[in-house]
């Protein structure tokens, strides 16, 4: 073997410089023809005499525990990945993951590549990848993110010590829902050892079951080394009016706001001290915003909303409509932020009436969300705001909102048909897919039938995943 290799290398060297300059070792006849003939022998010999090569086999992937995806569902996923209604990928993944399925192995590389680019689908993939997916991701550094995601494995006590970040997050979330105090105590046992990213992510889960019992823990977290953790703690404390932070905020606004002659007068803070910063107020304003304006907005946003009625002696309904001297924009922005942050439906309702924002809509109870969105749609022109506000109405939309939106699509299809694409897609993606019949019968106009087709696609999709 070594000899033939040398012989071949020799032939190549000779061919490179030519037989005129580097004659072949003695052979009969024309040296050029001789070179070609010897090369032909070597070439065919190497091809025909190929031997098997040693290689390291891959470790065997562990057996799967989750049910395999139904065939029709896998085919539909391939259609979505292939470019048919690509915007439905997230919904497909979320639904399939919710049912605990695992993907067909050959679809894994493509989805892992998707998730490498799109963080938002990673949690779903954590479940859908199954054990084969984790095994596969272990072979490719580009897919290493998967090891951080929660698996389909049910809650197990050892998860908190041994699980992936995702598993631990899932475990803590489940525990928090069942027994908030136990979740807090569990987190406290390992708090000091957690990475900053995990501390912030775990704290976020405290929104569920939040109570004054959490206050000492959260108050301590205001002194955390990591800004994200401090802010998360401050956001949560804002939602507890009786927290020390809530009281400090109430004190901060107390002598800055007065009502005089039916107007609200404001005296914005002139400095941002260390105590304010500790309570989550950022000192440095973004480009283009004045310092006072920035601080004012933030202290309003972080003041428990219940404070205002007491302080100014009016209900929210009146407060949001009052004239505010000089600082109206800042105060309203602060209230909007507070309503969203503190999830206060009463304030959200009043603020939405004058400033329809998707975030405010999302704070309202479901039924109300739907009728508020429907009322808004009926009276609003086709513009970016319409799409944005509708985006705040949680899916699936029921018949009332569905009808309102379909009617608008129909109206706009007569006046500005080139502009209805996005609204149609949003309707197709958010309306309860079981209502496809309603859409089919609503009108035979193509834009409505498009929505109906999308709903039907989703309806089939969800049924396949049952």
């Amino acid at each position: 073997m070594a000899d033939t290799m040398t012989a071949w290398e020799d032939l190549v060297s000779t061919a490179l410089v030519g037989t005129d300059r580097r004659p072949l070792p003695a052979g009969p006849g024309d040296p050029a023809a001789e070179l070609l003939e010897r090369a032909a022998v070597q070439t065919v010999r190497a091809r025909a005499g190929q031997r098997l090569r040693a290689g390291r086999p891959l470790d065997v992937a562990p057996p799967e525990e989750q049910p395999a995806l139904p065939r029709a569902a896998g085919d539909r996923l391939a259609r979505i990945l292939g470019g048919e209604r690509p915007r439905l990928l997230a919904e497909w993944l979320q639904t399939a993951a919710g049912r605990g399925y695992r993907l067909s192995p050959h679809l894994l590389p493509e989805l892992l590549d998707h998730a490498a680019r799109d963080r938002s689908i990673r949690p779903h993939l954590g479940v859908l990848a199954g054990r084969r997916g984790r095994w596969l991701a272990g072979l490719n550094p580009t897919w290493s993110f998967l090891s951080q995601e929660a698996t389909a494995a049910g809650p197990r006590p050892e998860v908190w010590e041994l699980g992936t970040s995702g598993d631990r997050r899932a475990h803590l979330a489940a525990l928090r829902a069942a027994d908030p105090a136990a979740a807090r105590e569990l987190l406290a046992t390992t708090w000091e050892k957690e990475s900053p990213e995990d501390r912030a992510a775990f704290l976020e889960l405290f929104a569920e079951g939040l109570s004054l019992d959490d206050e000492p823990f959260l108050e301590a977290a205001l002194d955390d080394r990591r800004r994200e953790v401090r802010h998360e703690a401050a956001d949560l404390l804002t939602r507890l009016p009786d927290s020390r932070l809530g009281r400090r905020m109430a004190e901060r606004v107390a002598d800055r706001f007065t009502v005089l002659g039916g107007k609200i007068l404001v005296n914005p803070p002139s400095a941002c001290d260390a105590a304010m910063e500790r309570d989550g107020v950022r000192a440095k304003p973004p480009q283009g915003t004045g310092e006072k304006s920035w601080w004012l907005q933030q202290i309003v946003a972080r003041t428990p909303l219940g404070v205002w009625s007491e302080l100014l002696g009016r209900p929210p309904r009146e407060l949001v409509r009052m004239k505010i001297t000089d600082w109206g924009r800042e105060v309203l922005a602060g209230w909007v932020r507070a309503a969203v942050l503190q999830g206060d439906p009463e304030w959200a309702r009043e603020l939405f009436a004058s400033d329809p924002l998707a975030d405010l809509l999302a704070v309202l109870p479901r039924d109300e969300q739907e009728s508020a969105a429907a009322a808004f749609v009926r009276g609003h022109a086709l513009d970016g705001q319409l799409i944005m506000v509708l985006g705040g109405a949680a899916a699936p939309w029921g018949p009332e909102l569905a009808r309102a939106v379909l009617q608008r699509i129909l109206d706009f299809s007569r006046t500005q048909p080139w502009n209805i694409g996005e609204l149609g897609k949003l309707a197709g993606e958010r309306v309860d897919p079981a209502l496809y019949g309603l859409a089919e019968r609503f009108s035979l106009e193509p834009p409505i039938q498009e929505v109906a087709a999308l709903l039907r696609f989703r309806d089939d999709m969800l049924k396949e995943l049952q």
């Binding site: 071949w8 032939l11 190549v12 061919a15 490179l16 410089v17 030519g18 037989t19 005129d20 300059r21 024309d30 040296p31 050029a32 023809a33 070609l36 003939e37 010897r38 090369a39 032909a40 070597q42 070439t43 065919v44 190497a46 091809r47 025909a48 005499g49 190929q50 031997r51 098997l52 090569r53 040693a54 290689g55 390291r56 086999p57 891959l58 470790d59 065997v60 992937a61 029709a72 085919d75 539909r76 391939a78 259609r79 292939g82 048919e84 192995p105 050959h106 894994l108 590389p109 084969r132 095994w135 596969l136 072979l139 490719n140 039938q449 109906a452 087709a453 039907r456 696609f457 089939d460």
Partner: protein, 425 residues
């Protein structure tokens, strides 16, 4: 009833990427009415821009397509969209094809029966003109003699200076003029080796094999193979009038390649009983329809007529009898695959592509990727990169894998999952 094809199999029939996309746009149930599938046909009416819907139907046994739309793409997006809908189980079964479908199927059957009833007789004037044939022999001989001298010159002067893509242009033109298109094609593809780090060795190999071909032609050795590779034409009629091999042929995979605005499609088959390998080659100018009648992962009971040669591979489908149930094809261990390739090379030393089916192999690594078992493996072609789909499908467990053997490694074509469904690689 024919087993439903999967989505990959359907999309593989599309003439190009834009057709694939267009087909997906018309594959939703809402677009179709009066659709049905019965026996070996699927049909439906697709709403188009006009008032009358387009009527599309597919004879699944061939497959053959028909649509009333004016598209020049073939198969058109409606036929493909209909197949996609069918593959997603979106077409209801029917007892009988619709009337217009039955009519078309009857016409097709009548047409298929015709040539058999009236075998083509040699038309007057079609017989080869001995004088022109003689002239061609001389031209080819002169062209090849020039090539032989040119190769010898290269060897004398050295190939160090040949790393230029236009190095062979003049030579190719002269070989085309000399009516030796096979050799001209081989020479025109030499530029591809220049991208290889080891291009001097690759180029020497290619030159030496050309030299071998010229010598064989001069000495009249391995005649049909050599004449075929030189580029003497063999007509379809000649091939079809030769012996045929009947078997259940598994469609292993295909590869399209574009050169000079011409797409060549290679479809590889293997006979289940005979174990014979076959290649069905078709050509079309870029953007035009390619032969889409052989679907990867399906099987057909058919007679194949092979082009003459000492290790015959290229074939035509002479007669299709029926579709056969799809199943993973029988494979061989890697050692046996190497023996088979060696046998092919013994018959035709210029063989550089051979379809193989490996049984119970797993992806392995030794710096690059291999496919094999405990006794060792065959390297994958560098163009395969990391074969993630294959690795995922395997999970370290042995699989049946169909691949194209080339001197530079295997190109994976397809494999089969636990349920025996084909996975196109």
């Amino acid at each position: 009833m024919i087993e439903r094809w999967n989505r990959d199999q359907v999309l593989a029939l599309a003439p190009d990427a834009s057709s694939q996309k267009a087909a997906q746009g018309v594959s939703s149930p809402g677009k179709w009415s009066n659709a049905g599938v019965a026996a070996e046909a699927v049909w439906g009416e697709c709403k188009g821009s006009g008032s009358k819907p387009y009527r599309a139907c597919v004879d699944l046994s061939e497959p053959a397509y028909r649509c009333s739309c004016p598209s020049r793409k073939f198969p058109c997006k409606h036929a493909l969209g209909l197949l996609l809908l069918w593959s997603a189980d979106g077409v209801p079964g029917a007892d009988e094809p619709a009337d217009w479908v039955a009519e078309w199927l009857d016409q097709r059957r009548a047409r298929a029966a015709k040539p058999a009833a009236a075998p083509r007789t040699a038309e007057p004037g079609a017989a080869p003109d001995p004088r022109r044939a003689e002239q061609r022999e001389q031209r080819v001989a002169a062209g090849l003699a020039e090539l032989e001298r040119w190769l010898a010159d290269q060897m004398r002067q050295g190939i160090a200076g040949s790393r230029r893509h236009d190095h062979w242009d003049g030579l190719v033109k002269r070989l085309v003029d000399a009516q030796a298109p096979g050799v001209a094609g081989t020479v025109s593809r030499l530029g591809a080796v220049l991208s290889d780090d080891d291009w001097p060795a690759r180029l020497l190999s290619e030159y030496s094999l050309l030299h071998l071909l010229l010598t064989a032609h001069r000495r009249e050795a391995l005649t049909p193979t050599v004449r075929g590779r030189v580029g003497f034409p063999v007509t379809k009629e000649e091939v079809l009038s030769g012996e045929t091999v009947r078997d259940v042929w598994d469609v292993l995979g295909r590869r399209d390649e574009e050169q000079d605005r011409l797409i060549s499609r290679r479809v590889w088959l293997r006979g289940r009983a005979t174990g014979r390998a076959a290649l069905v080659l078709s050509f079309a100018p870029t953007g035009q329809a390619l032969d889409a009648s052989l679907v990867t992962g399906t099987a057909l009971d058919a007679e194949l007529a092979f082009y003459p040669g000492t290790a015959p591979l290229r074939a035509l489908v002479a007669t299709r009898h029926a579709a056969a149930p799809a199943a993973p094809p029988p494979g061989s261990p890697p050692e046996a695959v190497l023996e088979e390739v060696a046998a092919a090379l013994a018959g035709d030393p210029w063989t550089d592509s051979w379809p193989v089916v490996l049984d119970a192999v797993t992806p392995m690594r030794n710096g690059s990727w291999l496919l094999g078992g405990p006794s060792g493996g065959l390297p994958l072609h560098p163009s395969a990169g990391t074969p993630w789909r294959l690795v995922a499908a395997s999970g370290g467990h042995p699989l049946t894998v169909a691949a194209e053997w080339t001197p530079w490694g295997l190109r994976p074509l397809s494999t089969w999952d636990e349920e025996g469904r084909v996975v196109v690689l």
